[in-house]
Amino acid sequence: MPIARRLSSRPSTRPSTPSQHLLQPEVDTEKPLWSKTPLLRSEKMSDRLGCDVYLKLENLQPPLSFKYRGISLFAQRALDGHGPNVHLISASSGNTGLALAYSCKRLGIKCTIFLPEGACRIVPLPEREGAKVVVGGKEYVDALGAARKALENEKHAVMIPSYDDPIIWEGHVSMVHEIKRQLPPGERPAAIFCAVGGGGLLGGIMQGCTEVGWPDVNIVGCETVGSNCFHRTMVANSSFASEKGKIPLIPASLANGVTLQKEGSVKIASLDKLDSRAASLGATAPSARVVSTILKRGRVCCMSVPDPLSMEACALFAEEHKMLVELACGTVLVPAYNPALYHTILAYHPTLENDPETRRPLVFIVCGGAKISVKEIEEYDTIAEKEARSHQFAFIDRIKTEW
């Protein structure tokens, strides 16, 4: 499927933006900046799981992650609303900042990213795209404070939300429209697997499914056991995964270590601490908007896996598909490398057709991410070799499963 075409003859109605001295591709600022990424059928995963498995390769977006969709749309809207002097600001330790830098460079607008000290490693990347990077403070909250200050002091400054914004979702929604066009005609997935940090991607997928007429497509939200605020939030709400007339149980591992708060009609769980190396999933609490919408929609499965399984998935994906993805992304692929886990998910969600005759395809969102190197993959490989087999367990909805 071709990368997004551009209209060649329609004149632009947007005021021309100053061109950057840095080299960049010719850009039509009125069309989406993101790439239509491939939907690749994985032969090996299909063989392993016994149905057609497709991978949506968001790691092929220019800034290496799906975030480019929502963030670039937000940036375009900000330019529309505020004019060429708009200044976009973000406090992000990673992929959000990088996606913003890429967007601003292509739109020819100013961009500043505030990072905490610990995030230094990703610094060269946004700067190469022309973003100003300000490093300060130890934690994310310090960087956020500095960003907010900049926001107050500048007339044209606009803060990029990390995940909890309808425009961000709207950008991510485009992914589902593409998937629908890319699947063989008339086919709709049995399930879409995606990683969940704060829930931005999940929100976009959910809205996308609604827009393309896929209310029965299951969404499997994948997290790690040490960073699963969404999973813990869902099980804290009695309407989720409960049988009629029965009081839903919450396993202790999912109930402990959180603080519950009511936001509107839903309970939100805040993790007391994050205990996973999948840093990009690192949200202490999910978006209330996403949670309440998904509770109403239903057809969602929550999956939490231990880090060693995510690490193993990253290493295996590198060997099989020759691509490096972050740990957060490897998390989504754990069921693709553990058929027993996948079949347990099927058993708890029988709507994921189990009949070989009518078996619908699965789609895994390979969200990507820039925070990965071959050194890390080698490290994950070593850890997985030692620990994956003794960590063959996962939480699915309200139960713990082992294999």
Binding site: M1, I3, L22, L40, E43, Y102, M323, G368, V374, I377
Partner: protein
């Protein structure tokens, strides 16, 4: 699942803009990701087309046969599986490790002797003795080149609208199948000003050496002496080809002792061809940098194409901008041909070898030695 003759099996692969390489080289650089083909290399294009054609001619009992050390065999196996026909791949002893990979694709695999020529002989024996058996060539067939050429024709809808044809397209050369596809493609599109850059490694550059033996490419006065053991012969229409006595490069997938005569002929007729030979270590280095920047593992045969992407001085030596032309406006496409012969294990090995490499950057460009300028 059966496929109709009108539908092709290959994937229209992504053409991505590389921000990093563009910044480094000072022009618009795009990467054609053939790694995304079902069998993970460009070979699937021509080979699947050949397979479909064979079945159209011989029927559903067609038995596809190939001799291959890797990626070609894998492409045949994938095609056979998708077209629901029998398939036997003969591999040399040296490529034994690829046997389980091929068998997983339901191919019958036979280890046919020590070297590729032995495997090829065994394959030919089977084809001679079996009426349904059809040999799938690895690189030397116009139908293969026609299939591979689709990677070029796809560019017309993938490059930004209103851009002129690419200034240059770079690819690796083993036996010349990919190059044959590239040349067939640019010919069919009439991109006469596009420079085709053919890259090989030292110890496996039969194409470069063959071109140097032809007057149309290299005058006799400039022609280097043939290295020890290398022989030259004349093919039809006066095309001269060399035969290398052995392959001395780790880029195994480039390991052909002689290139396709048809491809050499096309290259001589195209005229706008640059031949480049680089050392293995430079190819490894490029592969490691590509991995870091683009998060993709590519085998040596593939990273060979990217050596100029990681050395502006080399790139400028191969493709000096024309006078009066704004170099930053040039569009350059690198064919990331793919291939499965790379793993984390090899990456670790290459890291050590590159680290220990004391030789500077040097290359052969159209028979002339190029050395990285000191102090840059």
């Amino acid at each position: 699942m059966p496929s109709t003759p009108s539908s092709h099996l290959w994937f229209q692969t992504s053409l991505i803009y590389s921000s990093q390489i563009s910044a480094r080289l000072g022009c618009q650089v795009y990467l054609k990701l053939e790694t995304l083909q079902p069998s993970q290399s460009f070979k699937y294009r021509g080979i699947s087309l050949f397979a479909q054609n064979a079945i159209a001619l011989h029927g559903r009992e067609t038995h596809l046969v190939a001799a291959s050390g890797g990626n070609a065999g894998l492409a045949v196996a994938y095609a056979a599986r998708h077209l629901n026909v029998k398939c036997t791949i003969f591999i040399p002893e040296a490529a034994k490790s690829v046997k389980p990979v091929l068998e997983r694709e339901k191919a019958v695999v036979v280890v046919g002797g020590e070297a590729y020529v032995d495997a090829l002989r065994e394959a030919e024996k089977l084809v001679a003795s079996s009426p349904d058996a059809v040999m799938v060539p690895a690189y030397d067939d116009p139908l293969l080149w026609r299939g591979h050429s689709t990677m070029i024709t796809e560019l017309t809808s993938q490059l930004p609208a209103n851009t002129p044809p690419p200034s240059a397209i770079l690819c690796s050369v083993g036996g010349g199948g990919l190059l044959g596809g590239l040349l067939t493609g640019v010919n069919s599109l009439g991109w006469r000003d596009t420079t085709v850059v053919a890259l090989e490694t030292e110890g496996s550059n039969c194409f470069h050496q063959s071109m140097l033996q032809n007057d149309r490419f290299c005058a006799v006065a400039q022609r280097p002496a043939l290295p020890d053991g290398v022989t030259v012969r004349s093919e039809e229409e006066g095309v001269r080809l060399v035969t290398l006595p052995r392959i001395m490069s780790r880029a195994a997938s480039l390991g052909a002792s002689s290139p396709s005569a048809g491809v050499v002929k096309m290259a001589l007729e195209w005229r706008n061809v640059r031949c480049v030979t680089v050392r293995d270590e430079m190819s490894m280095g490029a592969g490691l940098l590509f991995l870091e920047e683009h998060k993709m593992l590519i085998e040596l045969a593939c990273s060979t194409t990217l050596v100029p992407a990681y050395s502006k001085p080399l790139f400028d030596a191969i493709l000096p901008p024309a006078s009066g032309q704004d170099p930053s406006k040039r569009t350059v496409v690198f064919i990331v041909c793919g291939g499965v012969k790379i793993s984390l294990h090899e990456i670790e090995e290459y890291e050590k070898l590159v680290h220990a490499d004391t030789k500077g950057s040097e290359a052969l460009i159209d028979g002339q030695r190029w050395v990285h300028p000191v102090g840059l």
